[in-house]
């Protein structure tokens, strides 16, 4: 079975996502952007769902009840949506005549 580049990229990304935390314990400290943000309470914050409905309620419920599931959903949704959107944009750009192929590297 031959995987497309996009599928391969998503698989590699998800693999790296799962494996890296096991290898590097506090890698996330590097994302303390410009040392402005101090780590706050890690898992304790909950969203008040009383005034929420529909998709907002669903997201908030998953967020409150299962943080791991929330993280998996976020990662997978971003991967799939990113792939679909880039595919659609690519189609539009092709229709406009902006198709790309292998380029010569002019410095």
């Amino acid at each position: 079975m031959k995987l497309s580049t996009a599928t391969w990229l998503i698989c590699v990304s998800i693999m790296i996502t799962c494996v890296t935390p096991l290898i590097v314990g506090n890698f996330n400290d590097a994302y303390s952007f410009q040392v402005e943000h101090k780590q706050e309470g890690r898992f304790e914050n909950k969203v008040n769902t009383t005034n929420l409905s529909g998709i907002e309620y669903l997201i908030a419920s998953i967020y409150n009840n299962n943080r791991l599931m929330y993280a998996i959903i976020v990662t997978v949704v971003m991967a799939i949506l990113g792939t679909i959107m880039s595919y659609l944009t690519d189609l539009v750009l092709k229709a406009l005549g902006l198709e790309v192929s292998r380029i010569s590297h002019r410095e």
Binding site: T5, A6, L9, I10, V12, S13, I16, T17, C18, T20, P21, V24, N26, F27, N28, D29, A30, Y31, S32, F33, Q34, V35, E36, H37, E40, R42, F43, N45, V47, L52, I59, A60, Y63, R67, L68, Y70, A71, I73, V74, T75, M78, A79, L81, G82, T83, M85, S86, T89, D90, L93, G97, L98, V100, S101, R102, I103, S104, H105, R106, E107
Partner: protein, 345 residues
């Protein structure tokens, strides 16, 4: 309440949906064109408009992950991704990053390192932009003297890269995609470990450090440096997205809206690489980091003086730079495309 305002349940705020899409679009164009994640634009932008810093970082990382999938794919199609070099860069960067973040943790125990880090950040940004400006004008002068101002289909390596290629420490590897016949693996690992260390120390994703390092230290052609760097951005974005989401710091609705803009922008930015010569990309990159550096300098003045106007000026400058560069890239793409079409007919 504006008709475009939406409620973001995780961050607990109202936010303009169009603004999110526009911020995403700008960072997508710049990310696809320069091979960077663009966290230095999105995080402060979201923060200025009301996002808490932790949610701004997490949401931005989720967006970076999504947008870089399409951009990397497009660069791969153009032959701009050196997978071998990219894999080495990810492995070495993780080691460097860990060392850099460990150093920060140790220094934080001694005292407040925020100010020191910001000064280092400033120094790095201005040094990099100066180096790239000097390189641009030297290249332009050299080509004018040769009677070839428009550039050619060859790649002139920096003297640093040529020296690095002479290191004979085994194992020696070749990077055919980047046009490098032989280079010591240790030298390449050292370069990426150093850029990773700087990323960890400064607390940034590191695309703006890696891209020039690929060009000036490893000797990779600019377009390949952009594509290969995007591959590393994709990996760090994937990890950042997951780790921040598990800590509850990703606002998924905001990330989705930003991704709608950024994935379109990233395709446009990546396509523009086809039409702009290497030293043109480097010039725009130098302008971008010079203004970003200026914005950080204003932020630093605010921290010292406490005068709010400096902070506002920093935010406006940053977003103005992002919007202007986005416009430049799009206009350049349209002009060059029209030229190409004209030639074809």
């Amino acid at each position: 309440m504006n008709i475009l305002d939406i409620h973001l349940p995780i961050a607990g705020i109202e936010f303009n949906a169009l603004l999110l899409i526009l911020i995403g679009f700008c960072v997508g164009v710049l990310g696809g064109f320069f091979g960077v994640g663009g966290g230095w634009i999105v995080t402060p932008a979201l923060n200025i408009f009301g996002f808490h810093m932790a949610y701004a970082i997490g949401t931005d990382l989720a967006n970076i992950f999504g947008q870089s999938i399409g951009a990397t794919k497009k660069h791969h199609k153009m032959g701009n991704v050196d997978w071998k070099l990219g894999t080495i860069s990810i492995v070495a960067s993780i080691v460097g990053l860990e060392l850099g973040s460990q150093l920060i943790i140790k220094l934080e125990k001694i005292g407040d390192v925020g100010s020191v880090v910001r000064w280092c950040y400033l120094f790095l940004m201005f040094s990099l932009s100066t180096l790239m400006f000097v390189d641009y004008f030297k290249t332009k002068k050299r080509r004018t003297l040769r009677g070839n101002p428009e550039g050619a289909d060859y790649h002139e390596r920096s003297s640093l890269a040529r020296r690095l290629h002479k290191i004979n420490l085994p194992p020696i590897i070749s990077l055919p995609v980047s046009g490098i016949e032989r280079v010591s693996l240790w030298a390449v690992l050292l370069v990426f470990a150093s850029t990773g260390f700087l990323s960890g120390f400064l607390g940034v994703g590191g695309g703006f450090i890696r891209m020039p390092a690929l060009v000036y230290l490893i000797g990779v052609p600019t377009a390949i440096a952009v594509g290969t760097d995007l591959m590393s951005v994709l990996a760090s974005g994937a990890y950042g997205c997951f780790t921040y989401a598990i800590k509850g710091r990703v606002e998924i609705l905001a990330a989705i809206l930003m991704l709608l803009g950024s994935s379109v922008g990233a395709q446009i930015g990546a396509t523009a690489v086809k039409y702009v010569k290497g030293y043109g990309i480097r010039l725009l990159f130098a302008i971008m980091i010079a203004f970003a550096g200026l914005s950080i300098a204003l932020e630093q003045v605010y921290k010292i003086s406490g005068i709010l106007i400096y902070q506002k000026a920093a935010g406006i400058l940053l977003m103005g730079t992002a919007a202007s560069l986005t416009l430049i890239v799009i206009v350049k793409l349209i002009i060059e495309y029209k030229k190409e079409k004209k030639k074809g007919t």
